[in-house]
């Protein structure tokens, strides 16, 4: 096994993990505080990418594009929460799934109307194109930027959640919603801000990935499912859990894709290994999720006191 190759794969895993974290952190809070299954989180991811690409074409500045994209996604988040989502908190999960799926249809088609059916690329400025060379390792500069941004948001969110008043409310909301509202906190406003912050982070993730994969319709619909896996594995409502789980799943997915066939070849025929490896590596994260749900449904790092009521049924 080539050491540099392994390092490059670890690097890719880190990048995927941090992107997943940006998606999953908001999702986890929305899940934990509002108990809302937010499939349409994927749409905000897509929206961030499209608005970013549009602004990039208009202004030519990556920073302007980023700022506008993040603000637009935040505002759309506020709007969607106010118009639709807040009416659903009292409803059951079936309604959540259906409405957020309906929202995905609306957003996907809306993007199709506004930006056409083709993909939109965010062209990178020359300074970000190209690669660093460290020893035998080539690191694309932009990927390094993604990692830095991801880490910065993670640190920022950590301070927001653990050090600020809003963060205190968020933590309290995730561990006992009823008590927070009983203490006279304006729970509606808290919900709205959490929803919009979550949307904003998803939009940021979409913006970051757009120069690599380009903005396309339905781009979030697959990664959102992985983000749900991250949320479950990390523990619903836990930002910290989402961080570790996102990294775990990022590494697992990347390394699985890269090395699983080698591993399987040790005890399977080459052909069998080549057939089984892609399936297994794609399944790996779901197997992990099923395992966590069965053995430790509250997640690996659930916030203390949260969902104590969830325990396995005795069979």
């Amino acid at each position: 096994m080539d050491g540099w190759l392994l390092l490059a794969q670890l690097f890719n895993g880190l990048q995927l993990g941090l992107l997943l974290f940006l998606l999953a952190a908001g999702l986890s809070l929305i899940f934990g505080i509002m108990d809302f299954i937010h499939l349409s989180h994927a749409s905000f991811y897509m929206l961030g990418a499209f608005v970013g690409a549009g602004m990039m074409a208009l202004s030519g500045s990556l920073i302007v594009a980023l700022v506008v994209a993040v603000i637009v996604v935040f505002l759309v988040g506020v709007l969607v929460e106010w118009l639709i989502v807040r009416r659903l908190y009292q409803r059951d999960h079936l309604d959540h799934v259906l409405v957020s799926y309906g929202l995905i249809l609306v957003f996907d088609t809306g993007a199709h109307m506004l930006w056409g059916s083709g993909g939109n690329v965010i062209p990178l400025p020359a300074a970000l194109n190209g690669q660093f060379e460290v020893g035998g390792l080539l690191i694309p500069r932009y990927r390094l930027l993604i990692i830095l941004c991801g880490l910065m948001v993670a640190v920022g969110l950590y301070f927001l959640v653990t050090r600020s008043r809003l963060g205190m409310l968020i933590r309290a909301g995730a561990s006992n919603r009823t008590m927070v509202s009983a203490l006279g906190v304006n729970i509606d406003a808290l919900y709205r801000i959490v929803f919009a912050i979550g949307a904003m982070m998803a939009g940021f993730a979409g913006f970051l990935i757009a120069p690599i994969t380009e903005a396309s319709i339905g781009m979030g619909n697959e990664i959102i499912i992985i983000a749900f896996v991250v949320v479950i594995v990390g523990g619903i409502g836990s930002v910290q859990g989402a961080f570790y789980a996102a990294l775990l799943i990022g590494f697992m997915d990347t390394l699985g894709r890269a090395y699983l066939d080698d591993l399987l070849r040790l005890f399977l025929s080459t052909q069998a290994a080549e057939t089984a490896a892609p399936a297994l590596s794609a399944m790996l994260v779901y197997v992990l999720m099923a395992g966590v749900l069965v053995c430790k449904p509250q997640g690996l790092l659930a916030p203390t006191g949260f969902h104590k009521k969830i325990k396995l049924r005795d069979v």
Binding site: F31, D35, I37, L39, I84, R87, L88, H93, L94, D95, V97, L98, V99, Y101, G102, L103, I104, L105, V106, D108, T109, G110, H112, M113, N221, I225, F228, V229, I232, T275, A276, P278, A279, A282, M283, Y286, V287, M289, A290, L293, V294, P297, I310, L312, R313, V315
Partner: protein
């Protein structure tokens, strides 16, 4: 013999005549379509009936409080039980059907045993996880078309006594399967089995305290539902002549849930109404504009927000009640008029 006390009625329902005329209309539809010469509508109707069967199987578990976001997996299993044997030139229909039912039941048993250890939101996500596992397994099977799917060389053969290539035969086959399942479900829900399922939806602890092994009942319910959806997959594979992993994408599972809620959750005939309305709406809107999904999504959101789980079936019941109370009122008014005129000669 006792009459059933009204509180035991599972759900309010329309008057029997409405359902009967729906069934008669479905039975006569191919004739009307043949007379009008619009063969396309038979295709639409066949698809609706096949999907209604899948939705009805989903209705069994969702009505029992188990919301699955992975039910399209069984459509896939059913469809591949036609495609894979056909790939090896085994065309025997009964065998395909056996694979579809058996395969789905085994998958439902294995995954259900795990899924049912969780509840609510966790149940939704774990069913999703299992269907994704199946999806990725199928996508990686190069022998069976992987991403591209497989085209069926021919449809399932039933030794000449059933020709599925005939559109009307396929339609009636699907309709029989659907009506048969609805009949079984109707009986099942009124049997102790159904009572236990409903009971555990509302208060599981109490059902267990009464001595029912609710887990086993729910597992059985889940397996029945999966196996029936496998039959729908068998029909769908034969109908489209093409199978692919896309059939079990999570958005298809969401579509099934949508048809269910359009029709009305827990209503026996809800799935038929839902599937018909869903496909007709799709058909009409997509003819109207390329961006039909915008309106479609909006309508679905509005439906969930404003109408809720009883769907069109619930709206029909509301309309029926209004009509009845309207009649009663007008009847009363006539009565009182008659009395008045009698009192003042």
């Amino acid at each position: 013999m006792f009459d059933k006390p009204p509180s035991l009625r599972l759900r309010p329902s329309l008057s029997g005549g409405v359902y009967l005329s729906l069934v008669v209309a479905l039975l006569l539809a191919p004739i009307a379509i043949a007379l009008s010469g619009q063969a396309f509508y038979l295709d639409l109707l066949t698809r609706a009936i096949i999907l209604a069967l899948a939705v009805a199987s989903l209705n069994l578990i969702v009505g029992g409080g188990l919301v699955s976001l992975g039910h399209a997996a069984y459509l896939g299993i059913g469809a591949y039980s036609v495609a894979i044997p056909t790939h090896y030139e085994i065309h025997h229909g009964m065998l395909h059907l056996l694979f579809a039912v058996g395969g789905s039941a085994v998958f439902a048993l294995l995954t259900g045993a795990i899924c049912l250890r969780t509840k609510g939101l966790y149940f939704i996500l774990i069913t999703l996880a299992f269907s994704q596992m199946l999806y990725f397994t199928v996508v990686s099977l190069d022998e069976y078309g992987a991403d591209d799917g497989m085209v069926l060389a021919q449809r399932s053969q039933f030794n000449g006594w059933l020709d599925l290539n005939n559109a009307a035969t396929l339609y009636y086959f699907a309709l029989c399967a659907l009506l048969l399942f609805l009949l079984v479900m109707h009986q099942l829900l009124r049997a102790p089995f159904g009572r236990v399922i409903f009971g555990s939806k509302h208060n599981e602890q109490r059902m267990r305290a009464l001595g029912f092994a609710t887990y086993r009942y729910q597992l059985l319910c889940y397996v029945i539902s999966g196996a029936v959806c496998g039959v729908a997959g068998f029909l769908l594979g034969n109908f489209t002549d093409f199978v692919s992993a896309e059939m079990m994408d999570w958005s298809d599972s969401a579509d099934l849930l949508f048809m269910l809620i359009i029709g009305g959750v827990g209503a026996l005939f809800g799935p038929i109404i839902g599937a018909l309305a869903f496909l007709l709406l799709q058909e009409v809107l997509s003819g109207f504009t390329v961006y039909w999904q915008l309106i479609f999504g909006g309508l679905l959101i509005a439906l969930v927000l404003l109408v809720g789980k009883d769907g069109l079936h619930g709206m029909l019941i509301g309309a029926q009640r209004k009509m009845q109370s309207g009649k009663m009122q007008s009847g009363k008014m006539q009565n009182s008029k008659a009395q008045n005129s009698a009192a003042q000669p």
